[in-house]
Amino acid sequence: MVKLRLKLIFLVFVIVTLTGCWDTKDIDHRLLPVAMGISKEGEEYQVILQVPEPVEGQMKNRIIKESGQTITKTIDTLSGNMESQIDLLHVKVILIDKQLAKEGVKDVISGFMRSRDVSSNALVTICDEDIEKFFNTVSNDLDVNAINLFEFFEKNAGWTPQIALTRVWQVYRSVHSYTHDVAVPIVVSGGSTNIRHMGSAVMKNGKMVETITPDETLLINAFKEESAQGRVEVSDHASVLIISNKTNSKSNFIDDEPSLENVINLKVVLLETKDDHTIELIKEELSTILQERFDGMFTKLQESEADILGLGQHFRNKIPRRELKDWRSKYYQELKMDLSIEIDIQNTGFLKSNSSDLSAN
């Protein structure tokens, strides 16, 4: 009985001492940065953090920056100089300077994955201007909403389908995968909307190699079945609202020649027309526009050897593993892409439109 009691006391003691629970800091003693900017000057990283802070019942943004040899060291220096501890768990957006992106972000991203300080679910973006200037403009003009930068990319808030959504882990995957690259959105500050979306950067093995326009990013999102909902698409004679998209792929690998058949089904609603055109014409026109746009983009991607559509995934079971590493340089170049875009006009709004088979009426 005495022995049991001793054991119990020991266990309770162990529970308390082994955890280090006296080290935990309450949420109000932590700084929770929402966005983090990284640029490189010479050999040193410059890190800028956007921290929302409550001031008199309102959230205000605070910008803090520091430079150092490594990112973690820089954060540590910042933390030492601040009144609270910096907790990077809530960093939702990581902005990378365009120059750094061109040099390659492999080390930075690997660092994030290794240390687990930053959630691997954080979004990666590229900033096409001086990062400090970007942060200052963004947070000064809109200090009412302290997390605007994060909400810009949030799927249930400010996100629109022509913005690519790429997480830290996806960038990390693209660094190490033979067959999968990523598109990363590019933003600059300015304009009446504070943040301007400039399109996407194509990242191959962690390096920025090419840029694509927002419209092309939309196609990528539609291709990947990221919802392209609510997006207005304009052709010469009409504008339509995309309400649903679906992609079907079929891959073939015959005689070392990869080919892919793709069908993108778009369900659209007619919004506006110029003159009286038949539904068939609008369909055909829209389909042609999108197809041309896709072909142009695909050629560009093939030239830059970046597989952001993840097409190589369809051939992983057809190409032997040791040859798979040549996917980007060899097979991807030879890939025959047969894309057809099928458009279904679900309704024409509150008005009737001319249709060839309805014209008899």
Binding site: C21, T24, D87, L89, H90, I147
Partner: protein, 442 residues
């Protein structure tokens, strides 16, 4: 005055409520004695006189009459004394013979009233009272069955506390029943006053944090349990049915719900399960999210919590414990307080204290919301003792959460479930959900 009455009088000289009166039966003097606090004397006398008339035959004597109303005893007065303490009346003749009879008792019981601890919506409103016989009667009234059996025991050294054991023959598991009967008979000399004594007699550990008895003051509830094959125990002078074995599902069900449509019944029960989980988890979750794992929160939530905690001097655990303690005090006080002052203290405690404590920045206002939700959810659980146990368990989870965060929540829940599953009443697990399949037809 006869030998017997002298002895009895001597024995009761320190009992001022003892009475001894002479009266005439068949033109002979007899003495009647007993406690005037337990016996309604005038009515008893009337009945006695009326009875003599009704059995009157021309050559009837007192001796014959005494034989008709009870066993005539002589000499030894121990029986007489014991009977007097039990509230019986002694009729003693001049020859030293006496008879023990049941008098008209004084009305010392309250009438059958609506339950005071368990509210019933749209259902049978009668509840048990202190009198054992009335309670058994209530059950017989509710369930007229030839199979309803009652075993009575007199517990204690002086054998003066009555215990009744009810079961429905054929529904109950015979092994469990006989084990229970043996246990009671083995400990029949032990004193019995309350639930703790009963649990001692049945051989349960006194250190259980979850009662092994399901208690109820509703006859309908007790009858439902009897029909399920459980055993109901009554202690004299306690208006509660002790139902054995108690199961976890009893926390969520009331017999009366069967008066509602089926879907509504299910919804109400789901609500109670949610109430249980809320009580257990929410305070711990607050501690875990605020102190250990803020990364789990959405950023908007994290910021607003951080904002509401600005200037709060304590760590989250201390903050939660302080507020929980104050709430427990309010709860305990409102039980003690007379009904007329109850609402006042609720207002002072709930609104004024809550508002002031937030204004004074002692705790965050989010915590007030959380504690209010916890306390309210606590009372969705059926049974006073069950909800007390759950109230206790939530502290375990709070402490684990403060050490291990969200993982601690899980560990605490696991520990509680492990504890509950370790409970067994006469071989029936507390977590049993199908008593009929697992136990009765075993």
């Amino acid at each position: 005055m006869g030998e017997v009455s002298k002895k009895v009088k001597k024995r009761f000289k320190n009992y001022d409520d003892f009475f001894q009166q002479e009266t005439y039966l068949y033109k002979e003097i007899v003495e009647i004695m007993g406690f005037n606090t337990l016996i309604n004397i005038p009515k008893t006398k009337d009945i006695l006189q009326e009875y003599t008339k009704s059995v009157h035959t021309p050559d009837m004597t007192l001796d014959d009459f005494l034989k008709t109303i009870g066993e005539v005893k002589e000499g030894n007065i121990d029986d007489a004394i014991q009977s007097i303490f039990e509230g019986k009346l002694i009729i003693c003749s001049n020859k030293g013979q006496y008879v023990v009879v049941d008098p008209i008792p004084k009305e010392l019981n309250r009438s059958i009233e609506p339950p005071s601890n368990e509210n019933v919506l749209q259902g049978s409103q009668s509840s048990f009272i202190e009198d054992l016989e009335t309670n058994i009667g209530l059950i017989r009234k509710e369930k007229t069955s030839e199979k309803l059996c009652v075993n009575s025991y007199s517990m204690g050294k002086r054998q003066n506390k009555k215990l009744a054991l009810l079961y429905i023959e054929g529904n109950v598991n015979k092994d469990i029943l006989s084990e229970m009967q043996n246990q009671i008979e083995k400990n029949i000399k032990k004193e019995l006053q309350n639930q703790q004594d009963l649990s001692n007699i049945l051989g349960f550990s006194p250190w259980l944090t979850m009662s092994k008895f399901h208690t109820s003051e509703l006859p309908s509830e007790a009858v439902k349990m009897l029909l399920q094959g459980r055993v109901v125990l009554f202690i004299d002078r306690l208006p509660i049915a002790f139902i054995l074995p108690s199961l976890i599902w009893d926390m969520f069900t009331i017999e009366n719900e069967h008066n509602y449509p089926y879907p509504l019944m299910i919804l109400i029960r789901v609500l109670r399960v949610l109430g249980l989980l809320t009580t257990l988890i929410v305070p711990g979750l607050y501690v875990a999210l605020v102190a250990v794992n803020p990364g789990v929160l959405r950023i908007e939530m994290a910021l607003s919590i951080a904002q509401s905690r600005q200037g709060v001097p304590y760590p989250a655990l201390v903050e939660v414990l302080i507020m929980l303690l104050i709430l427990e005090l309010i709860l305990e006080a409102s039980v003690r307080l007379p009904k007329s002052i109850g609402p006042t203290i609720t207002m002072v405690g709930g609104i004024i204290l809550g508002q002031a404590i937030v204004d004074a920045k002692l705790v965050s206002n989010l915590l007030i919301i959380i504690l209010a939700a916890t306390t309210i959810a606590n009372f969705t659980i059926v049974g006073v003792q069950n909800s007390l146990s759950i109230r206790l368990y939530k502290y375990l989870i709070v402490i684990f959460a403060s050490i291990y965060g969200v993982f601690g929540l899980l560990a605490g829940m696991l520990l509680i479930i492990a504890y509950l599953s370790s409970l067994k009443t006469f071989g029936v697990s507390y977590l049993n959900v199908n008593l009929e399949r697992d136990v009765i037809k075993r």
